[in-house]
């Protein structure tokens, strides 16, 4: 889908990108990563010709980009950047409509598309379409930026640290959302980041760059287990086993958990717990409320009396969280199992420490 052939960019005597060759397949997420000044952003910007290469060829769909008018090329490639660059004088809806308008779509089609995209990035169209960028939080602005990049449904998406300028919690949520959206849309994505965890989590393949050169181009698993050089080895760090956990979604490790509803009788609760130490307590809609110990059951007259209430948003995991997050919750809370909830905070199961250990061992081989 995208092919770079011996691409070089020089600024006077300094070589920003040096004979880079890289191929990204259709529907793949390629993450460019490396220390600052390694030429990753320059590489990205050469693909949509915001920067012209000094030598070499860039092919998109087999077509040499230097033969296409830059504006035309860029309108077919989504572009999202760290500082977002939303147009402050235009509403969210008009911002998203930028490329469709440049392509002269008709009004009703644009309006429909804007609504679709706002829903896709999880923002209510009724609430957000008329807002101005100055009224958005950092995370909302980033999501609008991504929606804007996707507006004309381009097959290719270039993203320069799209989740860079937000707090860690928001970033995690945006990354999870990106994974979900990408599963649905299957775009060809080239994403620049300096955050290795982000690269491991999002990439199908990671391109590690140093001093304008490509030093390794592999799947995250291979990059972690078989670094091609000492540089890569040092770059990925010594906590590779831990990093690998951010590749693995908790979804396939969710087990059914012993559960009692808040107004069940003590007898029913004992039956549900069986020989285990405790059970999760949910309300009649299935939303997580807390947990109760088997040993406490004999001393209380109702579940609500013996229940330990917990704030599910602090402890429970989202179903598309990673094992790494699961492990950090367990260590943080001192729990051996962590409940997993869906978007409506309904309990869907739990993940146990044993499973995380097993997954680590498996990945280690």
């Amino acid at each position: 889908m995208i092919k770079l052939e011996q691409v070089t960019k020089k600024y006077g005597a300094t070589v920003a990108v040096n004979g880079l060759s890289l191929e990204v397949n259709e529907g793949e997420v390629c993450v460019l990563i490396g220390p600052s000044g390694c030429g990753k952003t320059t590489t990205l910007r050469m693909i949509n010709r915001l920067i012209e290469p000094t030598s070499g060829r860039i092919l998109v769909n087999g077509k040499d980009t230097s033969q296409v008018k830059p504006e035309q090329l860029r309108r077919s490639i989504g572009y999202a950047i760290q500082s977002v660059g939303l147009f402050p004088h235009l509403t969210v809806a008009t911002n998203i409509a930028t490329v469709p308008e440049l392509l002269h779509w008709d009004k009703t089609r644009i309006a429909r598309r804007v609504e679709e995209l706002l829903t896709l990035v999880g923002l209510s169209p009724a609430e957000y379409a008329g807002k101005y960028p100055s009224q958005l939080s950092g995370g909302e602005a980033q999501r609008i930026g991504v929606a804007r990049a996707l507006a004309a449904d381009p097959p290719i998406l270039l993203m320069d640290e799209p989740f860079g300028a937000v707090d860690p919690l928001t970033r995690e949520r945006l990354q999870a959302q990106f994974v979900a959206i990408q599963q649905e849309l299957k775009k060809t994505v080239i994403l620049v980041t300096h955050d290795l965890d982000e690269a491991i989590r999002l990439a199908d393949r990671i391109a590690i760059m140093a001093a304008g050169k490509l030093v390794q181009y592999d799947t995250p698993e291979t990059t972690l287990s078989r670094p091609a050089s000492k540089f890569v080895h040092d770059f990925v760090g010594s906590d590779r086993a831990l990093k690998r956990l951010s590749r693995i979604s908790v979804e396939s490790f969710i087990k059914s958990a012993p559960t009692v509803t808040i107004n069940a009788s003590i007898k029913q609760a004992e039956a549900a717990i069986g020989s285990r130490r405790s059970a999760w307590v949910v309300d009649d809609k299935g939303q997580l409320l807390g947990w109760i110990d088997r040993t406490d059951l004999s001393q209380v007259s109702s579940i609500s009396e013996g229940m330990v209430t917990l704030e599910s948003k602090d402890i429970a995991l989202w179903q598309n969280a990673t094992l790494r997050e699961a492990l950090s919750r367990m260590l943080g809370q001192g729990f051996k199992s962590i409940p997993v909830v869906d978007e409506d905070t309904k309990l869907i199961g739990e993940v146990t420490l044993g499973d995380v250990e097993a997954a680590t061992a498996e990945a280690e081989e």
């Binding site: 830059p70 504006e71 090329l73 309108r75 950047i81 660059g85 101005y132 100055s134």
Partner: protein
Amino acid sequence: MMVRQWVTGNSVAVTGSCLGLLSLPFGWLTLKASRLTAGTSLRLWDAFSWGVAAAIIVLWLLCLALSLAERDKRHAITIGITANAILILTFIFAGPAANRLTATGAEFARVSLSAGVWVTVAAVYMLVFAARQSLPDYRVWQNLISWTGLAAVVILLFTGWLNNISVVQEFLGRESRFQQELVKHIFLFGGSVIAGTIIGIPLGIWAARNRRAERPIFYFANITQTIPSLALFGLLIAPLSALSFAFPVLREFGIRGVGAAPALIALIIYSLLPIVRNTFVGLRQLDPAVIDAGLGMGMSRPQVFRRLEVPLAAPLVLEGVRTASVQAVGLTAVAALIGAGGLGWFVFQGLGQAAPDLIILGAIPIIVLALFVDAVMRTIVRVSTPKGLATGTS
């Protein structure tokens, strides 16, 4: 504690109220035997009556009390209304007072407004300004407070209520000349600002785009700004008269060493700096990410200019035009010295004849014109500011 109160009150309004009270011991009207002789000064209570004097004193004390206590919107509005009332009261009673005094005096007797009235006017507008500042979110009240007093005085002028005040008599004696010079004044400052805008905006864009152009452009614009206006007017006389002698055809277009041509040129040069500077800053302060995003999504360079740079820089550019306009209204007054005409003509005539009323006949309309132009330009700036950029949208 008292000091704290002063700080929490409105210090501008307090100063204005004190100034208003200070005007009381000055002479309010001057009775002269003729236009050019020295006259006798009349105190507030002699000029009007004890009743009117007492009313004005009470109103000033009310303003002072409110300014010291100012806490909310209602206080500010009351201060603004009271200040306007003082102004209107002063002029309503000045008319009949002048009628009475001229009737009793000699044949050519003149009654002119003196220090007390002018200090009162200054104090009133300090309060108006202070009240406006306290009411940022009430545009209707702001405008009412700013313009009511002035409108009332204008109405009094037109109805002939103030016809026996000497300034008005100077006006009545030169009515057609006044209209002529007013039109000339508007033509001179308006023409120079329009031309300055047409030249200044491209220069500003050029400076913002091209680092090598930036320095010489600002060097020129800054240097000219430091030349005193009189000197610049004078400097242009020699080259322009030489030019008009070399090419007599130019004289048919009014290009001579003196008159409108050098005045226009000098005024255009003065209006350049604010416009060039604001255009430059307007473009340079744009978030580079916005331009990058625009280009990256496939806007052509002209589209980026039209869709992003123009709307985002417009408020600042127009703010520059506003500065240039207000400045030009004042500078045009000086242009009268090289025969360009305009309201400055009355000022310099008055200076030459030692006739203060004639000076005032020129000066007051210039001030009013400047305020009016400022208000109009502020409205234009506000209307042209995109909604997303206006403060207080969130």
